[in-house]
């Protein structure tokens, strides 16, 4: 037992993928220069947006469902410790083993140790944001264990030595010609005559994965939900690769963020409607797999659940920011975000891109480590409207901006502006001074970003208050 010494810890540096090497504006500039990327993104997000919008419109009670999801999440967060203990008791009673990981380093150590104990050197993986977040694949590789991603898009990213750029469609930034090239270069046993026809590409991946599924004894998954009252874990997916991983191996290790718990089986009813419609634009996702501990003679005979904090308790401690923990990773906010649509996911420097990433990553790491992310939004509010659990992302962004460290020159300018605006006489004088800049159509740094692509309007000869006074 350690003693609690104030603010809960944030995710550690040097491990996992929550921090980028560059600030958002710098990384975004590079992405914006890539025409192919922008075309791929605009095409993909527009398609998903349309699909999701259509199936959401089918439900007359969509707004009520959103409210229910939001209320369930808030109620869960309010008694998270108790629910997690209940989950632990029920998983244990069903023959599973529960591990608590304070952060990425500890979680990686636990999982690596568990795999090593089986004596196997290869694991198959179900797509999981939690394991991406902690950099589990890198940790396993460092221990001489080969992780194989089995989600098609995740496999493309892994084979391409690339990083995911979308929560749901990690390879959204790639088109099929690029994918064919990656397969030809990296996929063991691939047909050298491979074309870029989608069905042929899928068949190639299937052939490779089948063989891997049947010969690998250990699997690692994440979890979309965990039901406290029964100790049941759930994974939702579209390809069936998840079900193969969850049923074929002897050992199953699940890494789950502590916010994924739901109190009762009944609560799932709401989320199983919200998630697929918001996420893939489907009425129901193709595969919903649920398992409770171990069942003799059926499925994995050893089950481990790793409960991951990695900064989540710190998020929970923030009254405004804690809503970010309600996220069910549907990626609807990414698909409607005009900033994400132009920059793609890599610019966010974290496994959590887009609007949710802009609020979640800085909270998990501490705002100072991701200070540009709360500004990676025009506060247009499209994410708030799209979110199936009604997370008020714009308000969290504004809240985090208030916590972020500010550049000195900006601090001075803002204080000066507020000082002037709080003194009407001074303010009127400043308005007149603006007229002196009448012929400046370009601004000096750091304001030149504005005039690089827009003309400044000419200040009018008379302000409104002058006009009013003379009236």
């Amino acid at each position: 037992m350690s003693t609690f010494l104030g603010m809960p810890a944030t995710a550690p540096r040097g491990v996992g993928h929550l921090r980028g090497d560059e600030s958002f504006p710098e990384a975004a500039r590079k992405a914006l220069g890539n025409e192919q990327l922008r075309r791929n993104l605009a095409h993909a997000t527009t398609t998903i947006r349309g699909k999701s919008g259509a199936v959401v419109a089918e439900l007359p009670d969509w707004q009520e469902l959103r409210s229910a999801g939001s209320a369930l999440k808030a109620a869960t967060m309010a008694r998270l410790p108790e629910l997690l203990e209940q989950l632990e008791a029920n998983v244990t009673a069903a023959g599973g083993v529960v591990h608590w990981a304070a952060d990425a380093t500890e979680a990686n150590r636990i999982v690596t140790g568990l795999v090593e104990a089986t004596g196997h050197r290869r694991v198959i993986k179900v797509k999981s944001m939690a394991t991406q977040e902690i950099g589990l694949n890198e940790a396993l590789e460092a221990a001489g264990i080969a992780p194989v991603e089995t989600d098609l898009a995740e496999l493309i990213v892994q084979l391409g030595h690339d990083k995911p750029s979308h929560i749901l469609v990690p390879a959204i930034h790639r088109n099929r010609t690029e994918i064919r090239d990656i397969f030809l270069r990296e996929m063991p046993g691939v047909d050298p005559a491979l074309t870029d026809d989608p069905a042929t590409l899928a068949a190639a991946a299937r052939r490779y994965l089948r063989e891997t599924f049947l010969s690998t004894k250990v699997a690692v998954s994440g979890a979309n939900f965990a039901v406290a009252e029964t100790g049941t874990l759930a994974v939702l997916e579209s390809e069936g690769n998840g079900r193969m991983c969850l049923t074929l191996p002897d050992t199953l290790i699940t890494v789950m963020g502590i916010e994924k718990v739901v109190p009762t089986w009944r609560d799932l009813e709401v989320f199983l409607q919200l998630l697929p419609r918001a996420s893939t634009g489907e009425r129901m996702n193709p595969y919903t797999s649920m398992w409770t501990g171990v069942t003799p003679g059926d499925g994995p005979q050893e089950f481990h659940l790793v409960l991951l904090d990695n900064g989540r308790t710190a998020v929970l401690a923030d009254e405004v920011g804690r809503q970010a923990l309600h996220c069910i990773r549907c990626s609807a906010c990414l698909n409607v975000c005009p900033v994400y649509e132009r920059t793609g996911g890599h610019a966010y420097g974290s496994v959590y891109p887009g609007p949710i990433g802009a609020v979640l990553s800085p909270q998990l790491t501490g705002v100072a480590d991701n200070a540009s992310l709360p500004y990676a939004s025009s506060l247009c509010g499209a994410c708030f409207d799209a979110c199936p659990v009604k997370i008020d992302i714009p308000s969290i962004l504004v809240h985090l901006r208030n916590e972020a460290p500010h550049p000195r020159t900006e601090r001075i300018a803002m204080a000066a502006a507020a000082y002037t605006m709080d003194r009407p006489a001074l303010y009127a004088r400043a308005q007149h001074a603006a007229k002196l800049s009448r012929h400046a159509t370009r601004l000096p740094p750091p304001l030149n970003g504005w005039t690089a692509s827009r003309d400044l309007p000419q200040p009018p000869p008379e302000t409104f208050r002058d006009w009013w006074a003379a009236r």
Partner: protein
């Protein structure tokens, strides 16, 4: 009705035509407009850039200035949004609960122009005449923060001589976002590029909106392109008349 004008710092300094048009329009409809002295800025820029402490005196000033009035109007969806959704929140954050309560009170009496016209004054035909081909951009804060819905369109549809053309992908952000346009200038420019393309596709002579800030952004971009499409605030169109 006696209506207090919250001019907003941007309209006051850079776009007085929008504010003057608001006065002209409301007086033509038979109302008395007053301009409470002492008003400057609602503090939105400070709040949205992460300077809530600096915004606090501006919020105090705003609340003090407008507390005596029953109906307050601003020709800006985003400033009304700030008054309505941010003032009380910032006051509460600073532990000033009495200011928060007064801010909520003022917010409850503050309307964006199209809201005032349609919801409070009950008019959709304001007797305007504007013989031009016009497209309307529903700015994000008007659309999603204060939810003016189709009120501006209903007003525009009653303007004589006006041909309203639909803007493709109208609900996409123009990329302004206050200091976003400075802090993320490249992304902002990319968003603006698409918005301008859509405006030009309509073949409209005029692009209108309820926010001077977004119009400044779009207008600045169009001017750089050398386009002769003009950006005109909704208030100016509604105030225009035959004579």
């Amino acid at each position: 009705m006696r209506i207090a004008l919250f001019v907003t710092c941007l309209a006051d300094t850079m776009f007085p035509a929008a504010a003057k048009a608001t006065v002209t329009l409301l007086e033509r409809l038979g109302h008395e407009v007053v301009f409470p002295p002492g008003q400057t800025c609602c503090g939105q820029m400070h709040i949205n850039t992460g300077y809530q402490r600096d915004a606090l005196p501006l919020i105090r000033r705003h609340v003090r200035t407008f507390a005596p009035y029953d109906v307050i109007v601003a020709p800006s969806g985003s400033c009304v949004g700030s008054v309505r959704h941010q003032h009380a929140m910032v006051a509460r954050g600073a532990g000033d609960l009495s200011l928060a309560a007064r801010a909520e009170d003022v917010a409850g009496r503050t309307y964006e122009l199209s809201e005032l016209l349609v919801d409070v004054l009950g008019v959709e035909d304001v007797g305007a005449y504007y013989p031009h081909r016009v497209t309307y951009h529903p700015t994000c804060h008007s659309l999603r923060m204060i939810r003016v819905g189709d009120k501006p369109l209903r007003l525009l549809r009653h303007v004589r001589g006006l041909e309203l053309v639909e803007l493709p992908a109208a609900e996409q952000c123009c990329g302004f976002g206050g200091t976003f346009a400075l802090k993320n200038a490249d992304t902002s420019a990319a968003m603006l590029g698409d918005k301008m393309r859509h405006v030009l596709e309509t073949g409209a002579e005029v692009c209108t909106a309820g926010d001077a800030s977004c119009l400044m952004h779009i207008g600045g971009g169009l001017s750089r392109l050398g386009s002769d499409v003009r950006t005109v605030h909704l208030a100016e169109i509604l105030a225009a008349s035959e004579a």
